[in-house]
């Protein structure tokens, strides 16, 4: 913990130094405060990620980024289910989930989907997606706690939760893109798997996003790489490890998951 405290102290000094330099150019009051506001950190995530990760160390706040992401998830998914052509959506889901089954099995699947109203489906999906975000953060934080125990850097669960939550905030850009994409649809016939216009599949490959490589590529978007970059420089800053070690620690789970996925394609 002494390392951690030292880090915090250092970061405070760094922040004040940075704040002074930024303050001289922007004149913003937020940057004059020794305890940086959440919105300043949020804007720094997009403009000065190194500074942002230093500022996160001041309070290790979790609730602001986590609730922001959860709220954004609920808003976007609710909007999607309000705007989507539900009959088309059911047909599409039946085709995706039961397209290769017999007609009667397809009808059974359709009946199962039809049993749930559009509002109920939207509510359940939005809440489930929001909760999954928290669950995924917890799993990631557990991974970092294990790494901390190996490297003895002194960071604990709460600090890693804060680290992950703040560095995941670039996902807000995905939500913005999704809202624009849904809003620009004239007929509401948007497949759930193509909802993310920033995904690698949508931007570069254009494969069928319901299966195989297309599905894998659809799960990857530009903001994920951005988040990983923030995590790498944040980890380097927090632990004073080299760039290569930081990159290895951050990328291992990501590469592992996608390598296993690719093996089953």
């Amino acid at each position: 913990m002494s390392d951690n405290n030292d880090n915090s102290d250092n970061s405070d000094n760094d922040i004040s130094g940075n704040n002074l330099s930024i303050d001289s150019s922007s004149g913003s009051e937020a940057f004059q405060s020794s305890s940086t506001s959440f919105f300043t950190i949020l804007s720094n995530i997009f403009t000065a990620p190194t500074d942002a990760m230093q500022q996160v160390q001041e309070r290790y706040n979790i609730l602001f980024p986590l609730l922001t992401l959860m709220l954004a998830t609920v808003v976007v998914f609710s909007y999607y289910y309000v705007a989507v052509d539900y009959q088309w959506y059911i047909d599409h889901m039946v085709e995706v989930s039961a397209g290769e089954l017999s007609k009667s099995e397809q009808e059974q699947t359709r009946t199962a989907f039809t049993m749930m109203s559009q509002t109920a489906m939207g509510t359940i999906t939005a809440i489930t997606a929001a909760i999954s975000i928290a669950v995924i953060f917890v799993i990631q934080a557990v991974y970092f706690v294990i790494v901390s125990n190996i490297t003895n850097d002194g960071f604990q669960f709460k600090q890693w939760m804060s680290f992950i939550a703040w560095s995941s905030l670039p996902a807000l850009m995905v939500y913005l893109a999704m809202i624009v994409y849904i809003f620009s649809s004239s007929n509401g016939q948007i497949a759930f798997e193509t909802l993310n216009p920033l995904s690698l599949n949508d931007l570069f490959f254009g494969l069928d996003a319901t299966k195989g490589a297309g599905k894998m590529l659809a799960s990857l978007d530009l903001t994920k790489f951005w988040s990983m970059y923030i995590m790498i420089i944040g980890y380097k800053k927090w632990t004073d490890k080299s760039m290569s070690i930081s990159a290895t620690v951050i990328l291992i789970p990501f590469v592992g998951i996608y390598a296993i996925w690719a093996m089953f394609l």
Binding site: S26, A177, G206
Partner: protein, 399 residues
């Protein structure tokens, strides 16, 4: 100044990407097949469903109760009129006949005895009459003899009537005995065998196990009985041609003619509206695998072929408003790479085409599919034509 600029640029990029994807990308265009609307020959028809049945069909049921001791046919056997098909245990019925026969014999003997009594009293009466005429017998004794003679005659008559009664009982017993042998009433095929040897046949009309023995039908008398909705029945006439498709042999349509139309409407099983049972006589039935009870659908041609401006049925969508009892038909045509919704009025139709009375002009490009696209297409949607069904149609006509 730098940070707001960077954030503004980021937001702009994030907005531009989905917008450009929506408006520039060709992926947002729906791939459709089209067909030009043109003149087609339409055979107006009415569609209905029903079942195949045998016109000559008898359901045999037991007239006496007893265990089946002999079953001489199996399902699918061909039988002749009068051929014994089933034997019910006749032991008790045979005993009953013997018993009744004995009673008849007993009564015959009693009649013989009574005849002798009458004959004897007749002779006595003759002698007593002579004596009475000579004044040798008093009136009381003479009247007593007359009375006994008459009484004997009445007893004889009574015995004769009793003999008739027991004879009738004997006939009944013999009749019951004869019913233990079940005979085929028609030449035909055993289409259903509902009882096995050793089971008990039960007489009566109740639909309980054992009451029905078997069904015999004439395989050459197959017909289709369909239920035509009351709204369509006015167009159906005896002698109209029909095409019947047994569900089991969908690729092998049968030809039929309307043979009879039920005089009263009934609510068919599983239907809400009233319908009339229409019998279609089948012609040139080559498929020996057709079986009574098979589901079928039939198309009764109510008018001859007529050349009309017609749209493919698959292109016509229906918008129903049950509250206002309104049904609107519409199609989508392709204009400037956009799907345009057009309301139409429709006329007669057949399996493939429906007459368009108004709303469309010849050569309008109708969107005909694919169904999963057509089902959800909306007015103004961007479309790309991937196939023109006109080529297919031309090939069909050429064939």
């Amino acid at each position: 100044m730098k940070k707001p600029l960077i954030i503004s640029l980021l937001v702009l990029v994030v907005i531009v990407i989905p917008v450009s994807k929506r408006f520039i990308s060709t992926d947002s265009k729906k791939e459709v097949t089209v067909q030009s609307i043109s003149q087609h020959k339409i055979k107006a028809s009415i569609l209905a469903s029903g079942q195949l049945k045998h016109e000559q069909e008898v359901k045999l049921s037991a007239e006496v109760i007893g265990k089946v001791t002999g079953l001489f046919v199996t399902e699918g056997d061909i039988v002749k009129t009068g051929q014994i098909v089933l034997q019910i245990d006749d032991e008790s019925y045979l005993a009953s006949v013997k018993q009744q026969q004995a009673v008849v014999n007993q009564h015959s003997v009693a009649i013989e005895r009574q005849k002798l009594v009458v004959s004897n009293l007749g002779r006595q009466l003759k002698r007593n009459t002579e004596l009475f005429n000579k004044g040798l017998l008093d009136l009381d004794a003479y009247e007593s003899v007359i009375h006994r003679h008459k009484l004997a005659k009445v007893d004889q008559q009574s015995a004769l009537e009793q003999l008739k009664q027991v004879n009738a009982l004997l006939q009944q017993a013999k009749d019951r005995l004869s019913k233990t042998k079940v005979l085929s009433p028609i030449d035909g095929l055993i289409t259903s065998l509902d009882i096995k040897q050793g089971e008990t046949a039960i007489s009566g009309t109740t639909n309980i196990a054992g009451s029905s023995l078997m069904t015999i039908a004439n395989p050459n008398s197959m017909l289709a009985e369909i239920n035509i909705d009351e709204a369509d029945i006015a167009d159906v006439e005896i002698g109209q041609k029909a095409e019947i498709i047994a569900i089991a042999f969908a690729s092998d349509p049968l030809v039929g003619i309307v043979e009879s139309i039920a005089s009263s409407a009934k609510r068919a099983l599983g239907r809400q509206s009233l319908s009339f049972a229409v019998k279609l006589k089948l012609y040139a039935v080559k498929n020996a695998s057709l079986r009574p009870g098979m589901s079928c659908r039939a198309e009764v041609f109510i008018q001859g072929e007529q050349e009309r401006l017609a749209a493919p049925i698959k292109a016509i969508r229906v918008d129903e408003d049950n509250d206002e009892d309104r049904v609107d038909n519409f199609v989508f045509i392709v204009k400037d790479q956009k799907a345009i919704k057009i309301m139409i009025e429709t006329g007669i139709s057949d399996d493939d085409y429906q007459e368009v009375l108004s709303g469309l002009e010849a050569n309008d490009q109708l969107i005909t599919g694919p169904d999963k696209i057509l089902r959800h297409i909306k007015d103004g949607d961007q479309v790309t034509i991937i196939k023109n069904d006109n080529d297919l149609d031309t090939n069909k006509k050429a064939e």
